[in-house]
Each structure stands twice: as C-alpha cells, then as structure tokens.
Symmetry: C2
Subunit: 190 residues, 2 copies
C-alpha cells in the first residue's frame, strides 16, 4: 500500500500543492483494495459509501436494461477516480455495476472522509473541484458525440483519444460502449 | 445589481458557509450583464473568459453540425451556472452557442477570479466542487438516457424533472433537445 499511496500523492501534486503535514493527514484516510479480473467493485442495488482511485488495472462501469441488455458507460484505468457518483453523492442505491477487465488495485476513500478532508485541506477541495470539472467536460463531449456522430466516428475519436485503451479492452466491450453490435464494430475497426 | 448579488449570496449559503468578510471579498469579483431574448451570451468560435450565474431568464446552449443542423445540449435558468466549460476551463475557443430564450440577467465571473477566489476562500472551492459533481451526475443521467431510452421516455422524464421548463420552452427547442422532429414530438407531448 505504501507504493500506491506515493503514486496517489504524486497524482494530487500534479494538480495542486499539498504540504507534508497535509499529506500525512490525507494519507490516513485511504484503504487499499485488490480485485481479480471479473470481480465487482460496485454492484447494482448496493449502497455506495466509497469512491476509488485506480492504482493499477482497468474497469468498466455499465448499466443494464430490464431486458438484460448491457450498456457500457465508461472505461477507467490508472489514475481515474471511479464510483457510481449519483449513489455516492446522494447516499442512494447504485444503478451501475463496475467490474474489472484486468486484475486491479485501488485506493478507497469514503464520502464522509472526502467531505471532512475537503473542509480541512482546501487544496484537496480544489483538486476535486478541478477533477470534477474535467470529468464534466469529458462527459459533455460524450453527449455531443452521441447526439451528432456515427458509431464509426465515435470509434475513431476513441482510438485517437485513448489509443492504449483499444489494445486493453476486448472488442465486445468497445461495441457495447459505442452502442453497436460486434459485427458492426468489426466493419470499421480494421 | 445589488439585488442580484443578494440572490447569489443566498445561492452560495444554501450549500456552504461563507462569512461576511468572505462575501465582501467574493462579491467584488462579479459584474452584471443583461441580455434580450435571442441575444447571445456565448458564440461559437469565440474566447470564453467567463462563466455566468443566471439571475433571471432562460437560455439554451447548443452546437451545430457542419450541415447546419442544431443540437440543443442544455436549457438553463435561474440559479444555473452556464458557460462553454470546455473552452472556459482550457482557455480554448467555444464550440457551443448560448443564447437567450427569454430576456435574461446574469452575474459574470472570470476564470482567473474563480481560481483566485477558490484559493483564498476554501468554502467557495467546496461550493464549486459540489456543484460540479452534481452537474456531472446530471450529465451522466443524460448519457444513460441517450443510450437506452426512447425520445418519448426522455420527454416524460424531462416533464417530470422540470415541469416548469416545458411551459417556458418553445416545442421546437424541446424537439431539438430530444433529437426528434417537431412532428414526432407532437405525437407524445399530449
């Protein structure tokens, strides 16, 4: 866990300044979690007391229609913060599943600790403010893509934005993310 | 402008605690802007140095395909914060237009002032952190709707979530927001 915490410290310092005393305080509020491929980080219908920083590995967050059809909302890997944020922020029940595409390691932070730390360490409030704004912008790009672009255009944008991701994610999941069948995807993914 | 600032103060206090001294400092960083129906708050292709808090009125933010087809991304009214956040956050050029559906009044804050104030007043950093998280959650609901729901279902959800909005927005804009024709909308909007 020590190594994971050092990586997290570096991750914070890329965006804000945090003193050694503040880090001493912050670092006490994280726990470490390790999951194997296919295991769940969050399951639909459960409480979501935590959010997770991905130390290593790759996950997908997805939701299911009543018919059982799955829709992948997001892929997340090293340095991403993941949770079912709606359930987490509003103390609700998760409507999303998050499971591991690869073996993965996480640092875990509870909602109460996040709020407490953001009150006590203003730099951390600024860190999550900036991260959240960037997440908002990224989701807005996704909405705009869904409204105006073909699946092929959205695939090409994904390849350009996250070329490494395409190598790590099975094609069937890319198809689900784009909302097309595996066959349709194979027509434009070379 | 005094009245608008008092409303803004109240808006902040609904989420965080701000002292009188802090408010004295914060309130100096806003300017007042008034626009008539059809006027633009942000035009595609321009710099976006500011974000806006809506004191009164209703705006739509939208983007255009090369073909000229418009897609409405969002409606925003009293108490909403609006901008082209991608351009604003990254000092880029706007890809969105925001114009007024009704005469509108705004309080205006620059990016530099926001960052400076969030450093100086931790409560403000927490305010924007929480607002941004809620904006993220709301956009995520939009993405999920676009992925799984019919336009009719998304219309009904909009009516349920923002019943007053439906009264204030011309039907053609609701249709553009949902991504359907005016005729299709009329089939399920009563």
């Amino acid at each position: 866990m020590e190594e994971a915490l050092l990586k997290l410290k570096q991750h914070f310092l890329e965006t804000v300044e945090i003193s050694e005393e503040e880090w001493e305080y912050i670092s006490q509020h994280f726990t470490y979690k390790r999951l194997k491929k296919h295991q769940f980080l969050i399951q639909e219908g459960s409480n979501v007391p935590n959010e997770f920083w991905i130390v290593k590995g790759l996950v997908k967050s997805y939701f299911m229609e009543d018919s059982g059809k799955e829709h992948i909302l997001q892929f997340a890997f090293e340095n991403y913060w993941v949770s079912d944020f709606q359930a987490y922020q509003n103390h609700g029940i998760s409507t999303l599943n998050i499971d591991c595409i690869e073996d993965a390691e996480f640092l875990v932070m509870s909602f109460e600790d996040r709020e407490k730390m953001c009150e006590k360490v203003p730099a951390l409030a600024n860190f999550f403010r900036i991260k959240s704004t960037k997440g908002y912008i990224s989701l807005q790009q996704r909405v705009m893509g869904l409204m105006k672009d073909s699946a092929e255009k959205r695939y090409n944008d994904l390849v350009q934005k996250l070329p490494d991701l395409i190598q790590r994610v099975p094609k069937k999941y890319i198809a689900s993310y784009l909302g097309v069948s595996r066959e349709t995807l194979s027509r434009f993914s070379k």
